[in-house]
Point group: D2
Chain length 355, copies 4
């Protein structure tokens, strides 16, 4: 009889709960991992309460966490049972033609690297499955706590991708729209890549404070009027070099295109949840000829980037602790943590559950 595991799942649209499922099995290249810490993500909220990936029955949630290996496949070379590991939210098939062409997140098709809580069960389970263990895991280095490790799964990866797709150069003026946890990591990423003037668009006091700590030089609050006008005023009408979209809805794209210079980049790491179309404002886009490039992508994970970004934490150049506002203890607290993420109390940035 198959071993069973307890897991926290989406039961259907707008419904979550604890279930029992067959434990995952371990392929030859794979690993099974017992979570040591987990963090819910706004994406889990989108999945359950906004139907982001359609209706699903008994889909285990969660794609941010770290854990301890409990089984490895016969072809796994670099990891063994007992290793404590970082796990990315996206776990590509690294041999795929898409990965070979530079786009591992889309292995097997658009967004195909996104497996946890999408094409297979997520991490909120007593045991979860990781494909291509050698490529998709990394050891948790000494000096990084379990809670901090969880931030590497998605928040750091996604926020930094925003800065990378914006191709930020030394001394550029950058505007990050949205300063939830992804936006904060976009601020940190933009600052680490050498932005000088760094505008953060947001209003929640705790987020504003943390954004400043991550290098934001000016705060733009939509409550004070048009964010475009504020950005233009701060740049003497010239516009910003780059915009990172880490919040808002499809209309925010209009503002992003309006505030960026000709020759600039709008880099999106936001999930667009509604509307058939994301509108580019025609005139502000130079009737098609503005050289305002529009980028957007899914975080790129894997051992290489897990190790690389962890090294920023080890050398003291990135501190994710200010993002972790709520720490809960015990696997059962995963539910409470998710509801925190859904309800977003004023003082919440990111909750973590230590198991």
């Amino acid at each position: 009889m198959a071993k069973k595991v307890k897991a926290f799942a989406m039961l259907g649209l707008n419904k979550v709960g604890w279930i029992e499922k067959d434990a995952p099995t371990c392929g030859v290249n794979d690993a099974l991992v017992k979570p040591l810490a987990l963090a819910p993500c706004t994406s889990d909220v989108h999945t359950v309460w906004e139907g982001a990936i359609g209706d699903r029955k008994d889909l285990v949630l969660g794609h941010e966490g770290c854990g301890e290996i409990v089984e490895v496949g016969a072809a796994v070379k670099d990891f063994k049972v007992g290793d404590r590991v970082l796990v990315g939210a996206i776990t590509p098939d690294w041999g795929s033609v898409e990965a070979q062409s530079g786009f591992p997140s889309h292995s097997g098709g658009m967004l195909g690297g996104w497996k946890f809580s999408n094409s297979k069960d997520g991490m909120m389970s007593e045991i979860f499955h990781v494909n291509e263990a050698d490529a998709n895991l990394a050891l948790i280095p000494d000096g990084i706590s379990l809670a901090e490790a969880c931030m590497l799964s998605d928040m750091v990866m996604t926020g930094f991708l925003g800065a990378e797709m914006a191709d930020i150069q030394l001394g550029e003026t950058v505007c990050v729209i949205g300063i939830g946890p992804v936006g904060l990591m976009a601020v940190a990423g933009a600052n680490l890549r050498g932005a000088s003037h760094l505008f953060a668009v947001g209003s929640r006091p705790d987020c504003v404070r943390v954004a400043k700590g991550y290098g934001a030089t000016e705060i733009i609050n939509y409550k004070n009027g048009s964010i475009v006008e504020q950005a233009l005023k701060l740049t003497n009408g010239k516009g910003v070099d780059k915009v990172i979209l880490a919040g808002g809805d499809e209309k925010t794209m209009i503002e992003a295109v309006q505030m960026v210079k000709a020759g600039g980049i709008v880099s999106n790491v936001n999930y667009f949840g509604s509307g058939d179309y994301i509108p580019i404002p025609r005139a502000d886009w130079g009737v098609g000829m503005s050289h305002k490039f529009i980028h957007g992508g899914l975080m790129i994970s894997g051992r290489y980037r897990l190790e690389k970004f962890a090294s920023l934490m080890l050398t003291g150049k990135l501190d994710v602790k200010p993002m972790i506002t709520h720490t809960l203890h015990g696997f059962d607290k995963v539910e409470e943590a998710l509801l925190l993420m859904k309800d977003k109390p004023a003082d919440l940035i990111k909750p973590v559950v230590i198991i």
Copy 2:
């Protein structure tokens, strides 16, 4: 009393005619040029009959041509009276911060390099003015005819930019939407950069024939149904690596995003003439995370690129003659040529007036 020149101008919306104007004066870094050949552009049609740049009174038309220098400013070093020169449609201020940052076409602000028939009079004049002559002119090499030289002003530059912004790599599958003269040069540019499968979307038989000559391997005709479905069918459902938009309207962007692979690029060189917004289809764009990058820009001109692209003609690697379907003779024929461009008879690709 100021010298007068005869010129062909936009008299107002939907009205063109011959006027007399004061001859342009030559700044220290500039040149005055007498046209030897001129070509009307669809942009001239947009300007007069679609209000692309608003209502204008007595604005001299034309930004495609070549000519002979009749005066040079005191600071011009590399050109002299009598030189026969290539002239780009876009004539940037090369010392501007925008040019220094890699975007000369936007010197002084978005689209600021576009001066002819926009911020100053165009080329359809007995004498026209070229700013920063050393940087914006190039000698017409032996072996390039006057008519061919006209194709370098805009058609080659714009079509090739489409291929460049698409960052086409050896062996990629590319779809060019629109095979008017810019689209044909996009086909040629994509082919020259090493596209293997090269789809050309169009229906006019003459354009189809020329597109094949420029390397198109398959023709997609919208009359045969959805161009997206045709492109997907030709790629076994995988989509194309890159799309170059060189025609259509704002809804064509939807099709471009639908047919391109995750990790691909939509590169726009089309003028979007109507609608407040250019719509990106949300789901096909991976809800913001598809890594389908959207680029679009204004041709980049200048002496360096004029010489570089002319060298492709000199070495026999680019032949623009198949595009030149109509050759007229005499300055007075500029009007007829423009009306040809407006009315687009079935056998027209590009008319040129030899003066």
Copy 3:
């Protein structure tokens, strides 16, 4: 008792011969392949007669070929026994951190993706082993012959990499030094990427003829004097935009740096076989500040690039047949083919053995 296979091997420095070895075994992600065609490479000559990888005993030679799958591992998804496949000379570990960072050819360490006839037996065996079959094989498309398929293993991949690392742009002037088979493919690659003036440095009449067919516009023959002076003369003293090094020895680097413009690239795909150092000429390199970048790398293979470059052959944009000057028949002819490669008769470019 282990199954035995007959194979052609390096017996030791300067010695080759036929041996019997245990047949390779097939890992879960791997495939065993029976060669259908094989081509010897100059690298095999370097290996045996120049000690390029040190002394080796009974190392099976060969890394260019195509074949039919005779066994696949349990985890292989996309290939099955009987499939006829393209095989790259370099077969990376695609999950490695090096591959994740964009350098699959160096998976596991510098040049680590080079396994055939280096860290394991090569292809000149009744059966050979391919690691990570899904990632390192591609189906031979209809329309590509077995002999042509062999050219994809290394010649096309290596020559094209030269053009890629040179970052050739539309209309640039390029010099390819060396027009053996790799150099010829560098000429073809440079031409396919849009070089206008394309100088090929060589002297053998057959190679010169083929180089012209691949787009070379001028031939530089070292018998006519300094190749640097010839290149400078052809460019009116300005130098070339890019150089691809596909032949010569360490001193050829001096000439490459001398003939390239400030801001240009020297892209090396040559094997440097002797000397402790490759000298960069100090003054010609602008005392360190010339922006003459020096690139060099090992071919990048994998299914993605095999398919991509095969598509250039399928669409008629690349024809490798002119390179295949000698076709032999029968597995036993592998030895003769290798000796042809070693002795280089005047009319030889590339021999292929059809099995």
Copy 4:
């Protein structure tokens, strides 16, 4: 009779002194500037005492400084007499084909943008000349002192170029060899671009202290043995991702290539002053196939970069004050400052003369 200016000059090899010269004249696009602060550079030392640019008679020295405009040409638009301005050490011709192709520092030929104290008199003069004033000057922003402004002319520009040509990505391990003022700015630049582990190779205590302040995480001192072995030990034998060469001699290139990973970059901003060749170690360079790219270039200046990098100082992200160890007062002190640079007392990093 021409106005005369007092200036400090190279009188010949190994000889400096004060001279009187005709004041420079102002072209239509140019400006004449009275220095407000000046800094000598190691390059001045190379020029006078190492014959870096050959023997010169009465060549005015100096290319680091800021000043006040005393005259502008008729075609200058953005600056006027009395403006206090930043001046780059390199002052390109921005309309040149080289600048159009992305290499302004080589306008008119290799290193052609280097005019001060090379192709024309330098800044150590009562009045100095700046070509293309609109493009090559920038206003000194409020909040930046005259001494700090001098650091923008060359030290910041050159050090940062080292980080840019190394294409440093978030979380990479970088080694900067040499921590004189350029090396220190390379450390700061690497840190600002997101290096995690950042090794600085040097031994002088003051430089070490400042390097740590700029983000160096480990110091490698050649007095403790091979710097290559130290770098390998710190990376568990893997090597560093990128090396910036900002000191040493031609043999240092060997060490740089040895310590960098396959797939890494050696980025040189060092002046190589002796030897005919700069040696690349053949085996460590993977016999030509290591993908260890070797870059090297001359600082890129101009108004765009002056403003951009100044903005890093204005936002507190770059503090150049720790580099300025010696401040002298009075134009006459230029001589003493230069000799300081030549003699390098233990506590010297960079002297500045306030005039």
